[in-house]
């Protein structure tokens, strides 16, 4: 008996030893986000022949036979030593370092992508040269495949044939419904707060919803008591300040960002007339992060953006256009266990826009009458989400959300001391959703993300359940070569009646209803990708794929006369519902070398629309159906040297953009009309342009809707950056020229004085920007 027991003990010990001596695969994950961490340095104890290795793209590494202890180190994480014998499971969690990374010169112009999702940061977004020389994380999406632009230089972004209004913009998890400053010239997101941006064209997350085209999610980094950093910058259009300050060391930090414009002060100084121009343009962002212990983190966020443009004509009129948005958020993340975490999010977001005119009494500046059109949206929401991982290969997120919205639109016309004409409509909308999303990994051969979101809109009598579906899969033939498949079904429960295609903030926002039901999109994508990494600064990636998208219940103005803002309170009279279809080919490639980066994006696509009340119900090309779109970005650091005081870098960048022209409806003839009733009884004495009188008895024969394609669009931008890094601060000087060849890319054509003419919006635009960061 004793021998049997001894045998059993020896066998068990041997088995344990054998188990220790067998090679095994381990995964390294971020302890807060559960995301696999690649490129960790893994050092094994002296008992093994192999001393070190590096975790791969999936965060995995193989431990050799005999390894008992490993030390994991990564520049962004706290080093960790792990006894593999005592490890429960195969996952090692490492804690992010409480040290803000010093800003490094990243010459990369590329985004991390497989075809449907793109991730980038503000520094990468700066590779897209803008009119005003400011880095813009939203504008950068226009350089990616599958996106078309509206009016030149503005932020009308049309993804795979969808409207700009179908895009969701989330800033730190909060939806923003005002996206741009200065009539669409640059976005409201301060680049210093945009540490990471995710652009989803497909495989959208199920954790949020109510958008029908694409999602741009911008996330500021969480800082917990990190050393203070800051940046100040100035350009002819903008000046700004950003700073991050520790409140409690290693536990709490606050980040602050503010931007405003000095241009109106310059203009008013130059103005010698009695007319006055007033501009208030600013945005403010405050983020507070608190980590009391390793398990819990809290975050508070506040954002406000404001645009006001007021022009006062002396003793005549005062015209005012204004829009603003505010977003606030409270968030709590807690780790329930090594595998499970809980997230709670509460936010409030609002957007307001107004166009108004005050008429003065004769020979005075006292207001005699007032006209205004305004649109307001208020939304608050709650969301609770659980995340759980099973080993290395399965992760799941599931939760509930509740969203309450209040849409208010109205017009007002008043004369002093008289009763005004008010027409205000307030429409509530309440959405409840249940969602679940899972990530599955099949060794290193494939991964699959599946998401489902069930939404109920409580304001409808029948309480229909609408389903969002998302599927994104990758199949790897080799670690660097694979296939991507994606399917998305999306529902959007509000409509934005789009005026000008600039990311126009004066659009009217309305909830879906029984006459204009929720917009629906079904989309398929299939493509291949190559992602080759030799070192951190030597990479190559390429994608090519095709998509097909169907859109239902799209809402549009019946008449384009509403482009500059709704002229009537009866918006239902002006709107119509229809369908859209888009399909195309997308290709992109990017190469990163130590001093040179290049990226290329090409889209070949066709997009149409069909509305019963437009073009006699016949299908017509979408206005921004640009058959070909090509974007090329190059950046080269031609001098990078170490000086006595620090380092200096000079780099140049070049953007080349080519696109087929946008589409127009043009007059092609004249025909006899019927004059309005009793027109001959009109009073005389008024003088109008000749074209006005022609339209009394004659009519313009118009082409089919968007039947005419304008001349191709071509533009070249150049930029030069000088970066001087000292011990305590970094200075950067940027000189850029938008449209360096001053090409007159036409946006519109019109007929005047018996001559056809074209309108080009943006000429050559040089810009300068200086910044200092510490």
């Amino acid at each position: 008996m004793r021998n049997i027991a001894l045998f059993i003990v020896v066998f068990c010990v041997h088995a344990c030893l054998f188990a220790q001596n067998k090679a095994a695969t381990y995964m390294v994950r971020d302890s807060l986000t559960q995301v696999a961490v690649r490129s960790c340095r893994v050092m094994f104890d002296n008992k093994t022949t192999e001393r070190t290795t590096v975790t791969d793209d999936t965060g995995c590494f193989n431990s050799p036979v005999g390894a008992t202890t490993v030390t994991i180190s990564h520049v962004a994480y706290e080093p960790k030593q792990v006894d593999l014998r005592k490890l429960n499971g195969n996952t090692i969690y490492i804690v992010p370092k409480n040290v803000a990374l010093k800003e490094a010169t990243i010459t990369s112009t590329t985004s991390n992508n497989h075809g449907s999702e793109f991730s980038y940061n503000a520094r990468q977004a700066a590779s897209t040269i803008s009119i005003i020389g400011e880095p813009d994380v939203i504008r950068h999406t226009l350089s990616l495949p599958g996106t078309s632009f509206g009016m030149e230089g503005t932020l009308g972004i049309f993804v795979r044939g969808g409207d700009t209004s179908g895009n969701g913009l989330h800033f730190d998890g909060v939806p923003l419904y005002v996206t741009s400053h200065l009539m669409g010239l640059f976005s409201v997101i301060p680049p210093e707060m945009a540490d990471k941006a995710d652009f989803y064209k497909g495989g959208l997350p199920a954790t949020s919803g109510s958008y029908s085209s694409a999602l741009i999610s911008v996330l500021p980094q969480n800082n917990y008591g990190t050393p203070s950093t800051g940046k100040a910058y100035i350009s002819p259009y903008l000046c700004g300040l950003h700073t991050s300050l520790p409140l409690i060391k290693d536990k709490m930090s606050v980040r602050f960002s503010a931007r405003t414009t000095i241009l109106p002060y310059i203009l008013n100084w130059m103005n010698k007339t009695n007319d006055k121009l007033r501009v208030d343009l600013y945005d403010i962002c405050i983020k507070l992060d608190y980590k009391p212990n390793l398990r819990n983190t809290f975050s508070a966020f506040y954002f406000h953006t404001n645009d006001l443009y007021e022009y006062t004509q002396y003793q005549e009129t005062r015209n005012n256009q204004a829009w603003k948005a505010t977003a606030t958020k409270l968030q709590w993340d807690t780790k329930l266990s090594e595998q499970t975490s809980f997230n709670f999010l509460a936010y409030h977001t609002s957007a307001f826009s107004i166009q108004e005119t005050d008429f003065f009494a004769p020979n005075s500046s006292d207001t005699r009458s007032h006209v205004a059109i305004a649109s307001k949206l208020k939304e608050w929401a709650l969301r609770a989400m659980l995340t759980h991982t099973w080993g290395q290969n399965v992760a799941m997120r599931a939760g509930l959300s509740f969203q309450n919205q209040r849409f208010t639109n109205g017009t007002q016309r008043s004369i002093t001391s008289e009763r005004s004409i008010n027409n205000v409509q307030t429409n509530p909308s309440t959405l409840g959703a249940v969602f679940a999303e899972t990530d599955l990994k099949f060794a290193k051969r494939a991964d699959l993300k599946l998401g489902i979101r069930g939404i109920v809109r409580f304001n409808e009598e029948s309480l229909p359940i609408n389903i969002d579906l998302h599927a994104l899969s990758h199949w790897y033939f080799k670690p660097w070569l694979g296939v991507e498949l994606a399917y998305d079904r999306l529902n959007q429960f509000h409509h934005i009646l789009e005026g000008l295609p600039t990311g126009w903030p004066l659009n009217i926002r309305i909830p879906s209803n029984k006459y204009f039901p929720n917009e629906q999109t079904n989309q398929f994508y299939a493509g291949t990708f190559i992602k080759r990494t030799w070192t951190e600064d030597r990479k190559f990636n390429a994608t090519i794929g095709a998509y097909y998208r169907e859109m239902n219940n799209l809402v549009s103005y019946t008449s384009p006369i509403n482009a500059f803002g709704l002229n009537t309170s009866t918006w239902e009279e002006e709107a119509t519902s229809g369908t859209g279809r888009s399909f195309g080919l997308e290709a992109s490639s990017a190469i990163i070398l130590p001093t040179f980066t290049a990226s290329l994006a090409y889209t070949l696509s066709k997009t149409t629309r069909t509305y019963p009340s437009i073009n006699y119900g016949r299908t017509f090309p979408y206005k921004f159906d640009r058959r070909h779109i090509l974007n090329c970005q190059l950046q080269y650091a031609f001098v990078r040297r170490v000086t006595r005081k620090g380092t200096a870098e000079h780099n140049v960048a070049c953007n080349i953009a080519f696109a087929s022209g946008n589409r127009l409806t043009l007059p092609i003839g004249t025909y006899q009309g019927i004059s309005p009733p009793h027109w001959k009884n009109l009073s005389t004495g008024y003088i109008h342009p000749d074209e006005y009188y022609r339209h009394i008895y004659d009519r313009q024969q118009m082409s089919d809707i968007n039947a005419i394609s304008i001349k191709n669009y071509f533009r070249t931008d150049l930029a030069y950056n000088y970066i001087s890094k000292r011990r305590k601060h970094t200075r950067e000087l940027s000189l850029s020229v938008f449209n360096v060849f001053n090409r007159h890319n036409p946006y519109a054509l019109f007929h005047e004085d018996n001559q056809w003419k074209q309108v080009s919006i943006v000429p050559i635009m040089p810009m300068i920007r200086w910044s200092i960061s510490w």
């Binding site: 004509q313 005119t357 002229n567 342009p689 024969q701 919006i761």
Partner: protein
């Protein structure tokens, strides 16, 4: 609000400094194909009129007539008559439509697909002027439940006159800016140019259907003729789109004209123009004399 777009553009252009829109001449981008134009508005007159011409190149208003055509009118798919040519491009048919009637126009021309169009003659507008004066010694109008859009305009008279029947004389001038407290109006032509006109419509008021009887006033009305026009849906859309088009070109140097792409409504299949119907109700509004 449209008229203030000039100021809006000035703000935009000033703000961005160098961002000035560039306008330059180009060659003609497109030529249109000639199409047949039909214009016919049915009324309660005994004779119906129709014009039949061709389209022309842009801004050339010397229209060529369609020389040969067979133009027939159907009521509830029953043939009621054939138009006859009476002048250059003008055709007539002795026929009086009925309210609520469904009419189809068919035009056959050599070497061209048939042109067709349909319309429904509107019902009589149940509107009248109240006899009793309000506190301001004005007499309002009252309309019973009405499911169709209708239009209103008014004409100044020099003095009170008693008319039977009521007619609009050539010297009566249309009120340039007219207002109302009717609860549902289309504000598309409320373009204020002066402080006192922000609540007024330009020339016409397009009044939307009301499901309940409604009492309303028009102003400023002194001694005048008021016209209420019941329109078919097709003529309503044609009239509104025509006025919208005119408005776009009302101001000198309004840059929004560069982006104007409005299409005039047409219900002519294989052609352009309008086939519609309307009935006008004229009310003589005197200050002191009886109507």
């Amino acid at each position: 609000m449209k008229k203030n777009c000039l100021e809006t553009w000035l703000i935009v252009l000033t703000l961005v400094g160098l961002l000035t829109a560039c306008v330059e001449e180009i060659a003609t981008p497109i030529q249109g194909q000639r199409q047949i134009v039909v214009n016919c508005l049915l009324t309660l007159d005994k004779v119906q009129k129709l014009t039949l011409t061709y389209t022309n190149e842009l801004n050339n208003t010397a229209y060529e007539e369609v020389p040969e055509a067979i133009v027939t009118l159907y009521e509830f798919n029953q043939l009621v008559g054939e138009f006859h040519k009476v002048a250059y491009g003008e055709w007539q048919l002795a026929f009086k439509p009925v309210r609520g009637g469904r009419y189809t126009l068919k035009i056959q021309t050599p070497n061209h697909p048939d042109l067709t169009a349909t319309t429904t003659f509107p019902e009589h507008l149940p509107i009248h002027r109240l006899r009793k004066e309000d506190k301001e010694k004005k007499r309002a109008f009252r309309i019973k439940k009405n499911t169709e859009t209708f239009w209103a305009c008014a004409f100044f008279k020099d003095q009170d006159t008693i008319m039977r029947p009521v007619v609009i004389r050539p010297n009566y001038k249309m009120i340039e800016d007219i207002g109302t407290d009717y609860p549902r109006t289309d504000q598309f032509n409320m373009q204020a140019t002066e402080a006192n006109k922000v609540k007024l419509h330009h020339h016409y008021i397009r009044m939307l259907p009301t499901i309940v009887p409604t009492t309303f006033s028009l102003y400023p009305l002194y001694s005048c003729i008021v016209s209420f026009i019941a329109v078919s849906e097709e003529y309503d859309r044609y009239l509104k789109s025509s006025l919208l088009k005119m408005q776009a070109y009302e101001s000198f140097q309004d840059p929004t004209q560069w982006l104007e792409e409005n299409a005039i409504y047409s219900n002519i299949e294989n052609g352009v123009g309008i086939f519609g119907a309307y009935e006008e109700t004229l009310l003589n509004c005197n200050n002191s004399l009886p109507e």
